[in-house]
Amino acid sequence: MDTKAHVDGVPKIRLRGLSKAFGDKKVLDGVDLDIRAGHGMVILGGSGSGKSVTIKCILGLIQPDAGTIEIDGRDVLAMGRREREELNDRIGMLFQNGALFDSLPVWENVCFKLLAQKRITRGAARDKAAEVLAQVGLAASVGDLSPAELSGGMQKRVGLARAIAAQPDIIFFDEPTTGLDPIMGAVIDGLIVDVVKRLGATAVSITHDMASARRIGDDAAMIHRGKIVWTGAAAALGNTGNPLVDQFARGEREGPIQMELRR
């Protein structure tokens, strides 16, 4: 089966033979994946299938045991510290729980990267934060609150604002709708689609929310037992002809995934 998205030219992100084990547990077992520039890729898979580890390997948070990661044709794993930091400047990340810094007000969270790199003064950062918060549908006054004062949906929006504030060209989304009600989930998905389109960025999301996957993804890939078992159009989810993917997308109890669990 074809496990690589068909990409013309150099893909934005190319994974080859990516493997990672924690002790005896092999989490990634030779992941091959191409992600097109300017498109949204959704990586699907059950809990513990290796989705988060794949993203963390790309982000440099986890060192893989084997394999290669290329971004714009450059081998990320061979990069020095400075090169890696420069690459991170072009990357944004929305964490599952927001991962906002409790000790800082919202406006400092939003402009954290710009402030840390002294690309902006603190005075200008307040205005910039208000501008970016408006892009995710939040009032400027939210900037003065602390993260603990925000609801789950607002925290996701602030996390999204922080991810896009430095105008990255690759944005990662880790379970962007987890813990939100369906309406707020749809709102967050809409914001993600809007900001990704506005920035012309490449978006990589991991989720097990099928409705969200169809809304934010152009392409989709399914990871199962540490391997990519299918890639294709996100719109085809549920009717792919791949029993693993279709069972997962339809949320059916009976099928190859459950049968494997019973064995």
Binding site: N97, A99, F112, K113, A116
Partner: protein, 258 residues
């Protein structure tokens, strides 16, 4: 069958691994002292947290320690008609030992626990990973400013503790034990040497480093949610308290061994 020698060997190797990892952690944090960017706001925030907000607890313990010391030493010395040495014993004990050790133990309970809990919570809620994705080195941002603040703040706190501890002794000496105020202070100043104060301040800087290092180390590698953060907090306070007492002996040997 369990081989006790193998078990001991594994424990020793594990301890060596931990110590090695801790030393590398400290060296990496220190290496960021000289490399920009510098997070001055973080440093000032932690300096205020340690030096200013620990003042009340350090001041109170120092005053009461000086008071108790005067009372106890008087009770002992009066049996040998040596009560005139109370002021000398108080100032030596406070500046050389009790000032640095008690102030540091108080700060270990307050700041070591706070650092471990804050950094540990950041670890288990992905905030440390978020720093990396925001092009910020977590060691440089979280650990280095805290270490520097600890090394600077503790000598200040110990200097305050020294003064207040001596004043506590003077208070009891003059109001309860019948010493002449000017005589007590003269005995204190005449007996005090520069090395007594300097050794206490050097100890304080070392203890400040140990407290902040253990708080950061335990928090940085905590895992397992709330329970893991709780365990990291306990470990930070216990390990830094033991290290303070052990290093106190080593430093005393260095300064005063005949």
């Amino acid at each position: 069958m369990l081989n006790p020698v193998a078990a001991i060997g594994r424990a020793v190797l594990s301890a060596c691994r931990e110590v090695g990892a801790l030393v590398l952690f400290a060296l990496e944090a220190l290496s960021h002292l000289l490399r920009p960017p510098f997070y001055a706001r973080q440093f000032l925030r932690h300096l205020a947290e340690i030096a200013y907000f620990s003042l009340p607890v350090v001041a109170l313990t120092a005053i009461f320690t000086g008071m108790v010391l005067a009372l106890q030493s008087y009770t002992g010395f009066v049996r040998f008609n040596a009560e005139g040495a109370v002021a000398n014993v108080v100032v030596l004990s406070i500046t050389r030992e009790l000032g640095p050790v008690i102030a540091s133990l108080m700060v270990a309970g307050r700041i070591g626990a706070s650092f471990a809990a804050e950094i540990g919570t950041m670890r288990v809620t992905d905030q440390i990973d978020a720093l990396t994705t925001l092009s910020t080195n977590p060691m440089k941002y979280l650990v280095t400013p805290r270490l520097l603040a600890g090394v600077i703040a503790l000598p200040f706190l110990v200097a305050v503790a020294d003064i207040l501890g001596v004043m506590g002794g003077w208070l009891i000496g003059t109001t309860k034990l019948g010493f002449n105020s000017a005589g007590y202070l003269k005995a204190t100043l005449d007996f005090l040497e520069v090395i007594d104060v300097v050794s206490g301040l050097v100890k304080a800087a070392v203890f400040g480093f140990v407290i902040t290092l253990m708080g950061c180390w335990c928090g940085y590698y905590s895992k397992g949610g709330a329970q893991g953060v709780g365990a990291a907090t306990t470990m930070a306070v216990v390990s830094s308290s033991i290290l303070i007492l052990a290093l106190d002996y080593v430093l005393t040997e260095m300064f005063f061994a005949q």
